[in-house]
Subunit: 339 residues, 2 copies
Amino acid sequence: MRFDMSRTPTLEDVAEAAGVSTATVSRCLNAPEKVVEETRRRVLEIVDTLGYSPNFSARALVAKRTQTIGAVIPTMENAIFAEGIQAFQDVLQERGFTLLIASSGYDPNAEGDAIRTLAARGADGLLLIGFDRDPKLYDFLATQSIPAVVAWSYSPGGPLPSVGFDNTGAMAGLVSHALDLGHVRIGVISGRQKGNDRAQGRVEGVRATLRAAGKPAPFIVETDYGIAEGGGALDRLLSEAPDVTLVICGNDVLAAGVIRRARECGLAVPQHISVTGFDDIALARLVDPELTTVQVPHRAMGEAAARAILALVSGDSVESLALPTSLCLRSSLAPPRER
Amino acid sequence: MRFDMSRTPTLEDVAEAAGVSTATVSRCLNAPEKVVEETRRRVLEIVDTLGYSPNFSARALVAKRTQTIGAVIPTMENAIFAEGIQAFQDVLQERGFTLLIASSGYDPNAEGDAIRTLAARGADGLLLIGFDRDPKLYDFLATQSIPAVVAWSYSPGGPLPSVGFDNTGAMAGLVSHALDLGHVRIGVISGRQKGNDRAQGRVEGVRATLRAAGKPAPFIVETDYGIAEGGGALDRLLSEAPDVTLVICGNDVLAAGVIRRARECGLAVPQHISVTGFDDIALARLVDPELTTVQVPHRAMGEAAARAILALVSGDSVESLALPTSLCLRSSLAPPRER
DNA sequence: GTGAAAGCGCTAACAG
DNA sequence: CTGTTAGCGCTTTCAC
């Protein structure tokens, strides 16, 4: 028996070589229990020697399942998504699913395109980050009946099940602690809030806590994501509110930039000014002083999100899940200096 | 005319609604110039109102092109890949291609599986990191005639075209400079070299330069990737070679760990001991003292790799491309203290 | 338990 | 310029 090596083998090649029908070969691969031991062994052997691997497109065309999950994330250049997505992917891979990643660059239109592209490619399910997007996209997913879950945010009554944490509550915890320490004049440096409910939630956590404690509203500066950007934001904050004793940052990267810039300005942290971050990425323990921040379970979230979408894809229903965060108290936060 | 909204529309639905054949609709989408203005307009209008979007699998099945590029990277949890891959993806997206990412976790078997999975999914081309892998995989790609390019390494005579830089040469430049400064007892902390030609090349750059200068061979410690790991490696290095005046690290992350650990041990950098990194990620300017390192053009490399694979996919041939690196001299490297 | 046959939705000759 | 037709490789009834 000879094989044409110049072409990748098809089901038919295997069937012919094994002396069975294509249906039987297909069954050996998809429902082995429906084929008698003897036949199965022979077929699988041929599959192996021929190096046969089913054509994905043909299979998807008829089966209407692709074993593919799509994820649309704002950017890959951010340690926090990278780690969570890696965990997400690890679980998918383990369960025989492939991850298709698209990034939106924080652009709502690009995100919409990405969602539609992924849908057109037959993604069995989708992972989205946060809830803040055009409601039409939720309709679209419903119409196409593509299951999806939201991660990095938690909202039990949202349009989609979510796996995340309470951004507002976590930030509130941090702020309460800072108030206990005696801080009153507080500045906030946040990433862009538009279309980003994580940023919105965190800022709201600060606002609400100060309001509840009867303290003055915080000064808020918004900036793009990045270390240098954090430094620039500090400059703007201090020019508007030179007497703040605490700068609360929306994430660790901005906080790292603030700490660096403070040092350049001769402002001692935390003696002159305290700084806090959010996320607890590796960076937090690298800067000097080490960063007081909110620890977020990235890997656990990625894994839980993967389990959630896989459950949805196989027809099970899932509950939204809030993961716990915790306060990491380190040396960048101290009581304000007496004045 | 009524449409069944419960089903995603097919080519046939569009054809029927427009009163033309499916072939004409297909042409409107794939070769508009072959259809007369009037017909095209009408068809495209229906496409729009129906919200028709071609079924990816069906198209791939017959066209044998998927407009998909696969990338197999060691890990996403590494700023250097993240940034380069983001650039890679940006270019692909712009040209209408989708990126499929798989990560191998630095495991050669997992990498082989990922390559085969991507191939089975009909990736039109592949991006691989580095050259060091089972030669059978190159045969596999050749047999399946799947074009591929290697990034992060440069080797003009390699089995695949590459877009990268000269790891060995770049490190040699750094070491030469350190020798000029007067360092003699030199330690190296490298990531795992097995299957990682970037790490191998960098270590070789140190070895070769010292050899050529008639200096003693360096002490080499190998470790997993990570900040804490860098610190642990410093402990091991110092226990074996307590008198090193310079620790050359294979990447910035390890170097950051070394600097932190040195501070914990009461070793002043660079007064007691100099430290260098490689990659020049944002981290390099965050640690104190700032890191002397080798600047690598991540984005340019990602973009060039994208152009290369797209050229191959469309049948053009490409030349391997070496991108320039440069030395970033910062304060973590200084002449050794007199003893 | 296995085979025959009918498509899945689309593209690409080939006619007209 | 447009329609007809023949599959692409696979899964899945429906018979046997």
